[in-house]
């Protein structure tokens, strides 16, 4: 289990963080608009994957509906902005609250199903939400989705504007800021006593209950924390594209994020983050190759699970350990 590190290691860690952040701040100045957009998207998906790691990697909750947190926040925010003229910040807050509410309802019913029924229930909810989003055309635009008509939002009145143009630099920096902040917060949280409890639930739920922890409450808390970051990712996604449609909710994106987490190595936070970034580029590359890129993705899912059940990090670790 991960616990608090001695000071020298901590120093090295923070130096690395600063160096990486500095690099990430400089890179976009050398990129084209499309490349900036793609990098922003990759960071958003990295945030999304990292939020799921809290559920799967640390608490052991096998939910296949995480995309509903992502999508509900995005839809909630965009609907409030377009239909009721809310500002970005107020709408985002409402969007996050809505997505947490939906997550709570799903969690409430899913935990009542026995054993692997939990997984199936989350899938069913994911599909149900997709169906609702797809059919409720008056609210969600159905197949056509919704477009964001605003061009920018004010960060600091008079000084800073958040531009919604594709490949926007201000959005990139906001995403980087949120991602870095989220990573540091989550990392601190997971090596704190709260994180230890999450890991205990993953390790042996019955024992955790026997010791006296209110396991149900901690599961809900894990859902909330993961949900907050996933919602932020969803809202950033909505701004980056100025457009969302029903294919951000449902089973497919939820399954995608599970594969990213598994590949990156559950329980490491940085692994799923990097996996999410890498997979964004891979998917984009495959999409340019062929129209049937979903076949390759499907094969990817299949082989990823069959060959690397412990993620690539775990696979490498096993190889190293079997050598020594």
């Amino acid at each position: 289990m991960k616990a608090f590190q001695p000071s020298k290691k901590r120093l090295i860690f923070y130096i690395c963080v600063v160096v990486v952040l500095a690099l990430m701040c400089l890179i976009p100045h050398f990129l084209s608009t499309y490349e900036k957009f793609l990098l922003t998207l990759a960071l958003i998906y990295g945030l999304f994957a990292m939020s799921y790691d809290i559920l799967l990697g640390y608490t052991g909750l096998l939910s296949v509906c995480h995309a509903t947190q992502f999508g509900t926040a995005a839809y909630g925010t965009i609907i409030l902005m377009e239909r009721s003229g809310f500002s970005l910040w107020l709408a985002s807050l409402a969007g996050i609250v809505l997505s947490l509410l939906v997550g709570w309802i799903i969690g409430f019913f899913s935990t009542r199903a026995k054993g692997s029924g939990f997984i199936i229930m989350t899938i069913i909810f994911a599909l149900a939400l997709y169906t609702v989003t797809f059919s409720w055309t008056e609210l969600t635009g159905g197949e056509n989705g919704l477009m964001l008509s605003s061009r920018s939002a004010t960060l600091i009145p008079g000084y800073l504007e958040l531009s919604f143009k594709p490949g926007s630099l201000s959005l990139y920096y906001l995403t980087l800021l949120i991602l870095a902040g989220a990573y540091l917060i989550c990392r601190r949280m997971m090596i704190s006593p709260l994180g230890m409890i999450f890991q205990a639930i993953k390790g042996n739920e019955a024992r955790a209950k026997t010791i006296g922890y209110r396991v149900e409450r901690y599961k809900i808390l894990a859902n909330i924390i993961a949900g907050i970051f996933a919602s932020m990712a969803g809202i950033l996604f909505m701004i980056a594209n100025s457009f969302i449609s029903a294919d951000i909710v449902g089973v497919f994106p939820s399954a995608e994020v599970i594969i990213w987490t598994l590949l990156g190595g559950p329980g490491t936070l940085i692994g799923p983050l990097l996996a999410g970034v890498f997979m964004t580029y891979l998917t984009e590359f495959l999409r340019t190759l062929t129209e049937s890129y979903l076949i390759i993705l499907g094969a990817f899912f299949f082989f990823a699970v069959i060959l690397f059940p412990n993620g690539i990090a775990g696979f490498i670790k096993e190889r190293i350990e079997s050598r020594s």
Partner: protein
């Protein structure tokens, strides 16, 4: 009143088709703890195989039915070998692996055959008059065929040696293996049985629903809901649950579109989860 009556019989028809698919799901999930997301694709492939047979080989529906079932059963057995590494492990892995398989199958079919619906003619056009309504006899034939298949499967499970083997593995896999039962072969049998039933479901449903690449994806989730309502591993329970769900969707589609009527099935499950989390019947695995 007439609409209600028609929808009631339609519901029975849907229910029996769901029952065929759900039987396969409950066999795999209840006995092997294996969540086969690609089960719907077996249903879909059955329909496409039958269509191919009817167009290119022989125009006879019934021959196409038999050939289609055999082909899909072979695919089902191949699937069992493909997912062997994740069989018995964490159900999330089997879910993801089969989801990958389902994607591959679905998209391949889409690429090869194109997105437009294929039609296959019902083997007979006869209409039966009941209560001053004309009802297509083919739908009643679906009822009869599904009932025979399910009854045959049930008898197989209860009376034959292999059926007893399957039930032994369901109760206690390790003990069955200690007693000398060939567990991997039994797993193959379960896959074969489940695939065959799904294929039959797909082929007899094809004249009704027309054939398209995502047809499997739509029914597989209803099948999972049915299995959860009926109780995991509970064969007769899943049949009753299937008929119940079929009726709910059928009666629901008087007021809602059929895709939305699926949400009704979900609502039934949610209510049930609040009241009786183990499902309607008693499951083999509690």
């Amino acid at each position: 009143m007439d609409t209600l009556f028609i929808q009631l019989i339609n519901g029975l028809t849907y229910g029996m088709i769901f029952a065929l698919i759900a039987s396969g799901v409950t066999l795999m999930w209840g006995i092997m703890d294996f969540i086969n997301f690609a089960h719907g694709e077996l249903y879909m492939l059955g329909a496409y195989m039958a269509w191919l047979c009817t167009i290119y080989l022989f125009g006879n529906f019934w021959l196409a039915l038999m050939v289609g079932v055999v082909l899909v059963t072979i695919i089902g057995i191949a699937m069992r070998y493909a997912v062997w590494p994740v069989l018995g492990k964490n159900p999330l892995y089997s879910l993801l692996a089969t989801y990958g398989l389902a994607l591959i199958l679905q998209q391949s079919v889409l690429t090869i055959f194109g997105p437009f619906n294929k039609e296959i003619a019902a083997p007979l056009d006869y209409k039966i008059s009941m209560l001053n309504l004309e009802y297509p006899a083919y739908r009643l034939i679906i009822l009869v065929i599904s009932f025979i298949v399910i009854a045959a499967a049930w008898l197989f499970m209860q009376k034959t040696k292999y059926g007893i083997w399957i039930r032994a593995v369901a109760q206690d896999k390790d003990m069955a293996s200690c007693m000398g039962l060939p567990v991997p072969f039994i797993y193959t049998m379960i896959f074969a049985l489940g695939s065959a039933m799904a294929a039959i479901g797909g082929i007899i449903a094809a004249p009704l629903f027309s054939i398209y690449p995502t047809m499997g994806h739509e029914v597989v989730l209803i099948a999972f809901i049915v299995v959860m309502i009926g109780g995991l591993g509970n064969f007769p329970g899943s049949i009753i649950a299937a008929v119940l769900t079929g009726e709910a969707i059928s009666l629901g589609s008087i007021w809602l579109a059929p895709t939305q009527a699926f949400v009704l099935a979900l609502l039934i499950l949610l209510v049930l989860l609040l009241v009786r989390p183990g499902g309607l019947g008693r499951g083999l695995r509690d």
